[in-house]
């Protein structure tokens, strides 16, 4: 029974001690300690957040770089393709030009050859005609200078010119 009967004195001193302790510790211990711990936690959280932000930014930057690189690659590709096309076109154009030129030249040459040939043939014909007249003249002269021969010829001719 004694054990569970509180003493007035101890009650009184406990109340006083507890509140004095609460006041002193609150002012000189809990406030600075909990404040510092909270501040530290806030700063750690902020640091982590900013690190995360930086990481995201870095990621964005890398993504940007990659995109730019990709675009550049595509551009280069198209440029190369265009250049190749232009080259091919130029070559084919040149070829065509050359072809037509050549064709034209060949044609002209043919025309020239034909006309030359014609004139050459005409000249040759004239020349041959003159030559043959000369030859014929000389032969006729020769043939006709001898009587026998004239007769023989007449005969031959007559023989040939049998009534057919």
């Amino acid at each position: 029974m004694d054990l569970v009967t509180p003493d007035v004195g101890l009650l009184f001193w406990t109340v006083i001690s507890f509140f004095v302790l609460l006041f002193l510790l609150r002012k000189f211990a809990w406030k600075p300690i909990v404040g510092t711990v909270n501040d530290r936690e806030t700063s750690i959280r902020e640091a982590l957040e900013s690190a995360e932000k930086a990481r995201l930014e870095m990621q964005n930057l890398t993504a940007d770089n990659e995109r730019i690189l990709k675009e550049a690659r595509v551009e280069r590709e198209t440029m190369l393709k265009e250049a190749r096309e232009i080259k091919a076109k130029m070559i084919s154009d040149a070829k065509d030009e050359a072809q037509t030129q050549a064709n034209k030249m060949i044609e002209q040459a043919q025309i020239a050859i034909a006309s030359e040939k014609k004139s050459a043939m005409a000249e040759l014909k004239n020349h041959v005609a003159g030559l043959s007249v000369d030859i014929a003249e000389k032969m006729v002269r020769e043939e006709l200078s001898n009587k026998d021969k004239q007769l023989k010829l007449v005969e031959n001719m007559l023989g040939e010119a049998k009534l057919n």
Partner: protein, 366 residues
């Protein structure tokens, strides 16, 4: 971890050895009475005292006198407890301010005018003194150890707070390395989960003070030599005050929902409401009373068990029982080191829980 266990065991061993020494001293004192009364010895140890008994030497008690402060019919009277010359059965009268006082079983009474068999106390049939007692505000052994614990707490946490000032980036140094995890534990495991993120800041200083005050007093009670060894947290007045503070806070911060849940429980039929109201109403008082009794009984029980185990030697009147006695009391002391921490935690935890339940906001109607 292993080193810790070893240290704890060593500490426990030292503690219980000191208990042996202490118990030995007690037997010497009583040896002239021939009969060693275990219950009396234990009760004497558990209860408060007006002087701080350090040890007995050569048959004389050596003790630390403490001031006696009495609020009598004629005002305040103070004197040192040494004026009673260790007398505890009401045979020595101290006369101060025209009034006569005697001390009987660590209570101070007005002395009778005439001595009866040398004693100035008169008794009722159940052997309780019938003398009138003045209001006793003495600095007793327990009040003294409470002041000790206050000074210790102020030193520990004052230095902890200083330790933060020294380091520029808020990293704990020195003793703060030890105290910070405890403070953070109370904040993160006790205050925030039970009271909630919104209100916990208001009660954190109270909870921290409560936890460390109880814990340090528990620990000081386990140390069995002079400036410690008071059974303060095993005294119902101490636990009663702490429980009363919890009760007052709970009652004052309680919101409408809390009272509604007590007197008119929503969501149950009317007969049930009528049935629940008195139970819930009693619960308001039973909660702090259970807090008070839990701490008081646990700590007292710890002291009683350790002392009983030591007393086995004197009950059996044989030295051969001593090894078993020592081993068991070491074991119990080690468990007590754990129990006192758990009890401080539970007291704080339940206080936070009660405060939290008083402030809880129910978003939905049941």
């Amino acid at each position: 971890m292993q080193i810790n266990t070893f240290k704890t065991l060593l500490l426990g061993l030292l503690l219980s050895l000191s208990f042996v020494v202490k118990a030995n001293e007690s037997i010497e004192e009583k040896s002239d009475e021939k009969d060693f009364n275990v219950t009396d010895m234990i009760m004497h140890h558990i209860k408060d005292a007006h002087d701080f008994h350090i040890m007995d030497w050569d048959g004389h008690a050596i003790s630390f006198p403490l001031p006696v402060i009495l609020w009598t019919n004629d005002g305040l009277v103070t004197f040192m407890s040494s004026e009673f010359h260790h007398n505890d059965d009401g045979t020595i009268v101290v006369e101060k301010g025209g009034q006569k006082f005697i001390k009987f079983h660590e209570e101070i009474y007005y002395a009778n005018d005439e001595a009866d068999h040398g004693s100035y106390v008169s008794f009722d049939p159940e052997h309780h003194p019938t003398n009138v007692a003045p209001l006793d505000f003495s600095i007793t052994k327990l009040v003294f150890s409470m002041f000790m614990s206050m000074i210790l707490l102020l030193l520990i946490f004052g230095f902890s707070a200083r330790a933060y000032n020294r380091s520029e980036n808020g990293v704990p140094t020195g003793i703060a390395k030890f105290t910070e995890p405890l403070i953070v534990f109370i904040r993160d495991e006790v205050a925030i989960p039970n009271i909630g993120e919104k209100h916990y800041k208001r009660f954190l200083p109270f909870l921290l003070t409560l936890f460390f005050f109880i814990w340090i007093n528990n620990i000081m009670g386990l140390i069995p030599f002079f400036p410690f060894s008071g059974n303060l947290s095993g005294n119902i007045a101490f636990t009663g005050v702490l429980a009363l503070i919890t009760f007052i806070i709970t009652t004052f911060v309680a919101n409408k929902d809390y009272w509604k849940h007590i007197f008119w429980m929503p969501g149950v039929p009317v007969p049930m409401k009528l049935f629940l109201a008195p139970i819930e109403f009693m619960g308001i008082f039973i909660k702090p009373i259970s807090l008070m009794i839990r701490l008081f009984a646990n700590i007292s029980a710890g002291h009683i068990i350790v002392l009983s185990l030591i007393s086995l030697i004197f009950i059996a009147k044989s030295i051969w029982i001593a090894p078993a006695s020592v081993i068991f009391s070491v074991f119990i002391s080690v468990i007590e080191v754990l129990v006192v921490a758990i009890q401080a935690y539970i007291f704080t935890m339940l206080t936070a829980l009660y405060i939290g339940s008083a402030m809880e906001e129910h978003e939905h109607e049941h």
